[in-house]
């Protein structure tokens, strides 16, 4: 159907074939096949986007219904796919970066006993994510939404022999389910009111609605809960750090570049609804800004290379939601794109480090690796500069656009938080960079054996590095590309990219330089260990993520356990009652008797009784009605 179905079905086909025949395939084939399938999907995405670009700005949308899904007994819901400029951006990032990460995985997962299973899951994730962004209505979106959660669960728990991986997978799944419920209830409310879940129908209805009604606040809030869980916004953020138990390419693809930005996609997609829910809209920005600075503070004292990156992802997601919250939708999408570049780069480069050190992730056993891993060092540096917001790297442009929009729209508080967080980001990222690649090796044995990754891993990293350096140039084009989407319905008047005051830029970059300098001073000049400061009170709190895990356990997990116990007892009671009913019937019923004693006379009597009752009913009823 119009080139969309192929994009979605190809990765599914890859997943199914690998799942079914992975055992029969030669060792390296599943990875190659999976990468090829995603590459084909990438090419199809480009073709679809090109065709989309040829359409006139007012009708820039390709849509098609595969068939009816829920029909006949009420409003119909179809298998409907839609491609518009917004989903096109996600499409290219998912398939493009997805392909690079597939290629990288060929090197990273080589020799793992579950290689076929890994690629099957990874393809399945691509399928689910594409379904999510290409969905033409909220119900199909929810299917993709739930399936990416499932794929994430599989991949976090990929090394299922590790207890920690299994626990992390469970945690992620449970927290994501909270979000799924939010989306489900939100879309059910919309369906009850408008009898449709398709985007155009809903958005047309929104266009003429009056903002501020409680109904809109509630639906927007419920859908935001979904986005919150998927994009790991405070307070549903803890699963993301634990999700690092999965293989590193998975962290790069799912838990940095694509899946966790699904919330940003959903909120951007629903901008006409956010117009109607000003309170929720404002809250999205506030929580986003808080998540940004909160996660940055946690990253300060982390000891695990991937956990630092995980918290930086949280922080950057906070930036994106800040952008959504202040109505700077294009800037949020722009930051999603550049973040996908530099964060995928950082994770893959970190993966190369971990690969080189035989699986070691602890910062206190690294150091001085620049000599051993020059390519990785340079690419990592590119990513670090980009995320820290140094001009002219990509992160600088998107972050400036976000902060500028926050300032222009009068959200000075959020702007200030964003600026401070930028400085903090530079500090913890350069701490990570210096501790990994410079100073003296803290573990000689590991250092001696370190070696640069094979080409199949370094080439994707290098491509991502180029994108992370130059990706900022996409901004103007992206702005023009997305303009028709935001012009279609009211609610995105300030969506376009706009620069803030020049002194704001100077301040942000200045703080970033200070952060970098502080990291240099502390960890290189003074040569402090990575663990320095973790024993002080604030350090302990920050390192343990402000104790929120314990808080959640106390507030949510324990009561749920009590509730579950209560239900189990109730169930026992119900079972007991059912047994009781069955026994009661045994004791009482006549026609339970086995065949030989069943009496035809009695059966005929029952028929006669019924007959007379019905006859009497008919005669009386006929009289009454007549």
């Amino acid at each position: 159907m119009l080139g969309l179905i192929e994009i979605v079905v190809l990765p599914l086909m890859g997943s199914v074939t690998i799942m079914a025949f992975g055992g029969l395939m030669p060792k390296r084939l599943p990875g190659i096949w999976a990468s090829l399938v995603v590459f084909a999907s990438f090419l199809a995405s480009i073709a679809a986007d090109v065709r989309l670009g040829h359409l006139s700005a007012a009708h820039r949308m390709i849509t098609g219904t595969l068939g009816a899904w829920v029909t006949g007994f009420g409003p119909a819901i179809g298998w409907r796919l839609t491609l518009d400029p917004l989903s096109a951006v996600w499409l290219l990032v998912i398939t493009g970066i997805g392909f690079l990460i597939h290629v990288y995985s060929n090197g990273y997962m080589h020799g793992d006993s579950g290689e076929a299973r890994y690629f099957s899951y990874l393809n399945f994730f691509i399928f689910a994510m594409l379904l999510l962004v290409l969905a033409g209505n909220l119900l199909i979106l929810l299917i993709g939404w739930a399936l990416v959660g499932l794929a994430s669960y599989f991949l976090i728990g990929f090394w299922y022999e590790r207890t920690s991986a299994v626990l992390a997978a469970k945690k992620a799944f449970v927290m994501n389910t909270v979000g799924d419920v939010g989306v489900l209830v939100g879309l059910a409310l919309l369906y009850l009111r408008y009898h449709t879940v398709a985007y155009p129908g809903l958005f047309h209805a929104f266009a003429s609605a009056v903002p501020g009604q409680p109904f809109f606040e509630w639906t927007a809030f419920l859908l935001y809960i979904g986005a919150m869980a998927k994009s790991a916004q405070f307070p549903l953020h803890m699963w993301l750090a634990d999700a690092m138990e999965g293989p590193t390419p998975v962290s790069a693809l799912i838990h940095a570049a694509t899946m966790v930005t699904a919330g940003v996609y959903l909120m951007t997609r629903l901008f006409p609804l956010l117009r109607l829910a000003p309170v929720t809209h404002e809250m999205i920005g506030v929580i986003g800004a808080f998540t940004a600075i909160f996660a940055a503070s946690i990253a300060f004292f982390q000891q695990d290379i991937k956990r630092v990156l995980a918290y930086s992802t949280l922080s950057q997601l906070g930036y994106m939601f800040l952008g959504v919250g202040v109505g700077a939708y294009t800037a949020a999408v722009f930051h999603f794109v550049t973040h996908a570049f530099f964060k995928a780069l950082l994770f893959l480069a970190a993966g190369s480090v971990i690969h080189a050190l035989a699986g070691e992730q602890d910062l206190s056993r690294m150091g001085g690796l620049a000599k051993k891993l020059p390519v990785t060092m340079w690419t990592f540096l590119a990513g670090t500069l980009a995320i820290a917001g140094f001009p002219p790297f990509s992160g600088y442009f998107s972050k400036e656009a976000l902060l500028g929009a926050a300032f222009n729209s009068g959200h000075y508080g959020l702007w200030l938080i964003g600026v401070i967080t930028a400085g903090m980001t530079a500090f913890y990222m350069f701490r990570l960079f210096f501790l990994t690649f410079f100073g003296s090796p803290r573990d000689q044995a590991l250092y001696q054996h370190a070696h640069e990754a094979p080409l199949v891993m370094t080439i994707p990293v290098a491509i991502l590095a180029v994108l992370a350096v130059a990706g900022g140039a996409l901004g103007g084009g992206l702005d023009r590309w997305l303009a028709p989407v935001f012009a279609q319905y009211p609610g995105a008047a300030h969506a376009a990219l706009a620069a803030g005051p020049i002194w704001s830029t100077v301040l942000t970059v200045g703080l970033a330089v200070v952060g970098m300098g502080a990291a240099y001073w502390i960890y290189l000049r003074r040569g402090l260990a990575p663990t320095a400061g973790t024993e002080t009170a604030p350090g302990r709190w920050m390192r343990q993520a402000w104790g929120l895990d314990a808080a959640w356990t106390l507030v949510a997990v324990e009561p749920s356990k009590i509730l579950g116990d209560a239900f189990r007892k109730m169930e026992r009671g119900v079972l007991f009652a059912v047994d009781g009913v069955a026994t009661g019937i045994w004791a009482w019923a006549e026609d339970l008797r086995p065949l030989q004693t069943g009496q035809v006379r009695r059966y005929a009597l029952s028929i006669m009784v019924g007959l007379f009752a019905i006859l009497a009913y008919y005669l009386v009823r006929g009289r009454v009605i007549g």
């Binding site: 006949g72 026609d591 065949l595 005929a604 029952s606 007959l611 005669l619 006929g622 009605i625």
Partner: protein
Amino acid sequence: MNPLLWPEYSVLLGVLACLAAVMALGTKRSAEYPVSIVALVASAVFTVHGWSGHQSPVALYGQTVIIDNFSVAVDGLVILAAAASILLGWNERRSGTDFPALVLLAALGMMVLGAANSFLVLFLGIELLSLPLYILAASPGTSASGEAGLKYLLLGAFSSGILLFGLALLYGGSGTMIFTAIGPAHTIAPLVAAGSALTLVGLIFKLGVVPFHMWVPDVYEGSSMPVAHFMAFGTKVGAAAILMRFLFFGFYLSPGVWGPLIGYLGVLTMIVGNLMALPQNDLKRLLAYSGIGNAGYLLIGLASHNVTGAEAMLFYLLPYGFAVMGAFAVVTMVAGERSSISVKDLAGLSSRSPALSAFFVVAMLSLAGIPLTGGFVGKFYLLQAALFANQPGLAVGLVLATLVGMGAYLRPLLASFGHPAQSLEPIVWPWGGALVLAVATLGTIGLGVYPAPIVQIVSHSANFFWLH
């Protein structure tokens, strides 16, 4: 020879061919099974062709028979039921050589019922359906088959007498044999009221509605598995079809008279049926009571008296049929040489044959109405119909009965996952049973996940315009 009747003709020709095969080849070589399947396949082809061919109803033989999308849909269901029965009893020496011919003949009766528009055709169809089933119930398959057949014959004759009396009164009161010709003035005349009551009793006796249900478990218990399956699926289809023809075509002007009655009977039937299914130990008796409970669900569609109800009722027959096919196929395979099995015999099925146990789970969950199975979707549509008709009582009854039914259906499941197998004899997979099982399972899950195509068919078949 009317081209629209080819589905019926091919079944009739199949009967004759089966008889000829038995006469020509004797009882040594059984060609009648393939012959009957060929006839059913041909009939199915004509049914599909007829479905795509005509959209508007055609009245034949002086309006006594109506061929419309509804009758074609009923044909399809009957063919499915008959084919599944014959496959389940494939080359079964216990069923005897006349088994395929009799099944085809009964199927023909059911197809006639689906197209009936006159009292005479109604009676013809009912008798055509019943007489072969009397013989099938009495044919030596189980230790009690003779008793079951005799019981069925006695009570069947009793109800046929009531039915015939009712039809005579109806004719006397309304002056016409044609359903659609019964005028508005007639529908509340006392003679017609009495006639309707008696006719209704005759029809719901076949459906197995409480309090006319008592024969059902005994007859199922005494019949062989394929025959019991055919009664559980095929007879229900035929009886439901003729009830819908009779009430929706003949008495569509007076739903206020019969609607509440059908509603009361429906709720009574589904609650009693599911309650009585709870303590059953013999699986055939359990499935018989399940069939009674499901007959109650079907009545909801009638009592709602709206388009949704008609569609939901027709729809429900398919997931119910798939579940019955699956359950009987599993029970047949587990029983092997035995004629009946109890819940205890299922113990350890999951370790004895995981695949069979998985199929059994699907069938049972569908009967219980668990989401992602066709049974859930069917019950959901019935519930919706009751709510659209502003009859919350029906909806509450449906939910309560389903809750009780859950206990009944989960008990055998529990047993199948329970203690290690008591009987360790290997399970034989006859290809016919395996095919039935595969179709039933695929259908059950397919309907649960993607019911749209069937809903499409149903909404064209039961979309009687006067219900709008």
